[in-house]
Assembly symmetry: C2
Homo-oligomer: 147 residues x 2
DNA sequence: CGGTCAGTGTCAGGAATCTGACACGCATCA
DNA sequence: TGATGCGTGTCAGATTCCTGACACTGACCG
């Protein structure tokens, strides 16, 4: 179909652009993670566990922006594949603290390299100043929206 | 569970923050659109049609970041509700140009008001300068990621 | 002590979305 | 003319993800 009537004011909307950028990032990450047999949520889970060992299923779910139920099925498969470990019984309450195995850390290493290349491409052509402003603006948006 | 070990470097990652902001925006929009019986995709479709009348199903799908199949089921329900119209036969090729009805414009008007309040809240506390930089940065990111 | 509340893990069930595939129309070019 | 490529609408199947609900634990407070 023909290209026509481009951009009335959608390209001027921060909201729309936010969605567009987020979508482009997700697509790009999916693309580089697929050869590794990973999804974005999959990778997010591993990255979260690497940075904060002992996170519970619910906490991982919030961090990866999915429901506890979805994260749970993911964790079960990760546990089955020997990538993460959870104790059989909760040390306190009902929360089961998850941890990466050696194999998990290795798996994450590959994924991190792939994702880093995407992030570098995304930030290409942006000055440190611009990145800093973008960081501040995004943080402010999140805070304001949650209010 | 207890609050602990906050922010190793997730909060410093533009990628994660992008996802977080996009998610917060979507949640906030969902919340104000639900009383109107609308979803975000629903609203996006109407907004797209208002700004660019005659868009085809596939074009709407790309604009709303869903598949043609998903957009088609939405369009069918919108057509059934008398919110949009499509000709019975394609004037050219196979693409059916969709248009808002009077009722559709009225429906959109309510939604726009609701969404505008969210966008205002999101941008609260941000200078025009910061918004301009954010706009430029996001555009650059999208362009780089698509390359 | 007894009550409520918040947070968690888990079990179905269902809704939304995507993947895969096919036929058709138009444009381009040999 | 015919052939290839691209975009589109549409059908069916499968997957993913979420909504709703239940039981349990620990913390707080009357």
């Amino acid at each position: 179909m023909k290209h026509k009537a481009e951009g009335v004011d959608l390209e001027t909307s921060l909201g729309y652009l936010l969605k567009e950028a987020s979508n482009a990032l997700r697509s790009a990450m999916d693309e580089v993670l697929r050869p590794l047999g990973m999804t974005v949520t999959h990778y997010s889970c591993l990255e979260l566990l690497a940075q904060r060992p002992g996170l519970s299923n619910s906490e991982l779910a919030r961090g990866a922006f999915v429901t506890r139920q979805s994260m749970n099925v993911l964790l079960q498969s990760l546990e089955r594949d020997g990538v993460v470990t959870r104790p059989a019984e909760a040390p306190v309450g009902k929360a089961l603290p998850a941890r990466l195995t050696a194999r998990g850390r290795q798996s994450l290493e590959q994924a991190t390299a792939a994702v880093r290349s995407v992030e570098l491409r995304m930030l290409a052509g942006l000055s440190d100043d611009e990145q800093a402003v973008a960081l501040r603006v995004l943080r402010s948006m999140v805070r304001s929206l949650r209010a």
